[in-house]
């Protein structure tokens, strides 16, 4: 049984003009020790999926259907207090902007120590000792001196390292990382990704890595789910999805990434843009932009089906087609 099991997740936003469906029928699992990448363009629902799992959906957003199981136990309907405990202890979260994660009024050492004393059976002295070890492990130079520094005294890259230490110090079994390197420069990005990958692997934790950057996914993830308009368009082993995508959207997405190793005269592009939540097309949501769409795509919504090595929600892969 996977460590995290998301079944048919549906998230809705009630608005004045009616209920918007942000996620619809999202299902996937993450095994212990596995990194699952979630990619998609803005508005695809990737961050929303992460927020639903850690129980931090912004109101009025609400889980309107499906189940989220953590280690076999249902967690989507837990009361607030229990959810909060689970979030610190079992599920760690890393967000894009390290400044909003860290409390500017407390030293980083105090924030780390407090997290550990709350969730682990250790005292303040031991927690402080471990806090230094954590800062050292995430690559903060002279950690013993910097433990009493405040977040604003660190640079952007260093702050994101502190956030990683903070998310991992209570030894969670699942880490949800939402665009952990997007705010960082490329040279720092590579360092942080390498670090995140090593620590998660060493501890045997599972990770859900949400990003819009296919390059980051290709380097880090074992499997990847590609989202489009609130649903999973394709999911499978990262090699298959990146090198031999089945779904026309994944193929288009991969082709539109400018290559670094050569110059092309005209870049492949997908016409149009992702639909708004209030105007998701009938049938397959991608059909108005799809060059291979046919009649059925306009009428019926495809479910995930085995394609070449992956699972794709596309009528091209209907059995017997």
């Amino acid at each position: 049984m996977p460590l995290l099991d998301v079944e048919n997740l549906r998230v809705e936003f009630p608005t004045r003009r009616g209920v918007l469906t942000a996620l619809d029928g999202v299902s996937f699992g993450i095994e212990a020790g596995e990194v699952l990448g979630i990619v998609g363009e803005s508005g695809a629902g990737k961050s929303m999926t992460g927020a639903a799992i850690i129980g931090l959906l912004e109101p009025p957003g609400r889980i309107a259907g499906g189940r989220i199981l953590f280690d076999g136990r249902r967690i989507d309907d837990l009361p607030y207090e229990e959810k909060r405990r689970l979030r610190g202890k079992e599920i760690g979260a890393i967000f894009q902007d390290p400044l909003t994660t860290l409390n500017p009024l407390y030293t980083v050492g105090r924030q780390l120590a407090e997290t550990m004393t709350t969730h682990l059976p250790i005292g303040p002295g031991e927690a402080r000792k471990r806090a230094v070890q954590w800062l050292d492990m995430v690559g903060i130079p002279s950690a013993a001196q910097r433990i009493d520094a405040y977040p604003h005294e660190f640079s952007g890259g260093m702050r994101q390292r502190v956030v990683i230490a903070l998310a991992l110090c209570a030894e969670p079994r699942l880490v949800v990382a939402d665009e952990p390197t997007t705010a960082l420069d490329v040279s720092i990005q590579a360092q942080v990704i390498a670090l995140l990958k090593t620590i998660v692997r060493e501890r045997g934790a599972a990770m859900m890595l949400v990003t819009h950057d296919m390059g980051v996914i290709a380097e880090t993830a074992d499997r990847v789910a590609v989202m489009y308009a609130g649903r999973i368009a394709e999911i499978g082993p990262v090699r298959d999805v990146v090198l031999h995508p089945s779904h026309p959207y994944t193929a288009g997405l991969m082709a539109s990434i400018p290559p670094i190793d050569r110059r092309v005269e005209v870049l492949a592009q997908i016409e149009g843009s992702m639909p708004r939540l209030s105007a998701i097309p009938q049938g397959c949501a991608f059909h108005p932009r799809c060059a291979r769409a046919f009649d059925r795509c306009r009428r019926e919504r495809p479910e995930l089906r085995a394609a070449n090595g992956t699972a794709a929600a596309c009528w091209l892969f209907e059995e017997g087609a």
Binding site: S187, P259, D261
Partner: protein, 327 residues
């Protein structure tokens, strides 16, 4: 033929001192941020020069200097052979340069219809005789950037990010410019939309003979767009070369580090060696070569002496190690 844009030893400093009383109490002097510290390049007509670098390297400051949004602390910028400030005083010349900004949400007035946004430069520069001609020109511009004339009646919020960037481009083109400064024009866009905008910009350059100064942190995008590429680090150019040379045979250790840091999409399993450390503060830059604390091949000389650009193959490189190796 002279290059359309010439930038000679340009310097721009910002005063970032604390208020006088605090300075006196703390017994500290004035502090200067050297955002651009001696930069030279030229852009031939109809070509694209790109500036790449990480945040704080001064690339956006250069963009603003070149269109005259910031004044110069030192050096000189010439446009079509004439000094920039002289040329900017003459509206018939000023219309020849335009700028496209990064954030298509912030750079369009939300209360104006798209038609008025695009027509504003036409009116400001007196480029149309009457309303009929204005309407015709706006329709033409909207069509040129891949929108429809009916879109002119809408407001910016009714468009997606990519379409808004098309509106910005239509507005920039409305004064018939020769030169466009594009500051991260696609970094706020999704990748499939980015490809649309890049293709559009390439097509417009070909059709209208435009000259671009293209600012980006994304090396893959730069490779697709550029004839020449300059790599900036802490307010200086460390390397400038034709795009093909720079990407196939990067010389400066910082250029190599940047290229090395890009995740490998071909999944060859190549192990990347990320460059250590971070960009230092431009207020207190390291001595000598600003890159030396992070440089894998730094020598004692690099700490003491600032390297000057020297000719290496088809470009210029500012690095002691590269120079000595070549000598």
């Amino acid at each position: 033929m002279t290059p359309l844009v010439e930038v000679n030893d340009v310097v721009r400093h910002f005063d970032v001192s604390r208020p006088l009383l605090q300075r006196l109490l703390a017994a500290e002097g004035r502090r200067t941020l050297k955002a651009v510290d001696g930069l030279s390049f030229a852009i031939p007509r109809g070509t694209t020069l790109s500036l790449v670098g990480e945040s704080g390297c001064g690339k956006s400051t250069v963009a603003r200097l070149v269109v005259g949004l910031y004044g110069l602390t030192g050096g000189e910028i010439r446009f079509d052979g004439r000094p920039l400030d002289e040329m900017r005083r003459d509206p018939s010349q000023r219309r020849r340069m335009q700028m496209i900004f990064q954030d298509p949400y912030a750079s369009l007035n939300p209360r104006w219809r798209v038609r008025d946004i695009v027509a504003e430069p036409l009116r400001a520069f007196g480029l149309v005789k009457d309303r009929t001609e204005e309407a015709r020109r706006v329709d033409e511009l909207l069509t040129q950037v891949g929108l429809s004339p009916q879109d002119g009646e809408k407001f910016p919020h009714e468009f997606s990010g990519g379409q808004r960037q098309r509106i910005s481009i239509a507005r920039a083109l409305s004064s018939n410019p020769d030169f466009l400064v594009c500051d991260e024009p696609t970094s706020a866009l999704d990748v499939s939309v980015q490809a649309q905008i890049l293709n559009l910009m390439k097509r417009l350059q070909r059709d209208l003979g435009l000259t671009y100064l293209f600012i980006s942190h994304n090396l893959a995008v730069v490779r697709q767009m550029s004839d020449m590429v300059g790599v900036m680090y802490l307010g200086r150019l460390v390397e400038i070369a034709p795009a093909e040379t720079l990407f196939s045979a990067p010389r400066h250790p910082y250029t190599r580090a940047l290229l090395e840091a890009i995740p490998d999409l071909a999944m060859t399993g190549r192990q990347r060696i990320p460059v250590g450390g971070e960009v230092p503060s431009p207020i207190t830059p390291p001595s000598g070569c600003a890159f030396h604390p992070r440089c894998p091949i730094a020598m004692p000389r690099c700490r003491a002496e600032r390297p000057l650009p020297h000719v290496a193959e088809h470009g210029l490189v500012a690095c002691h190690a590269v120079e000595e190796h070549a000598a």
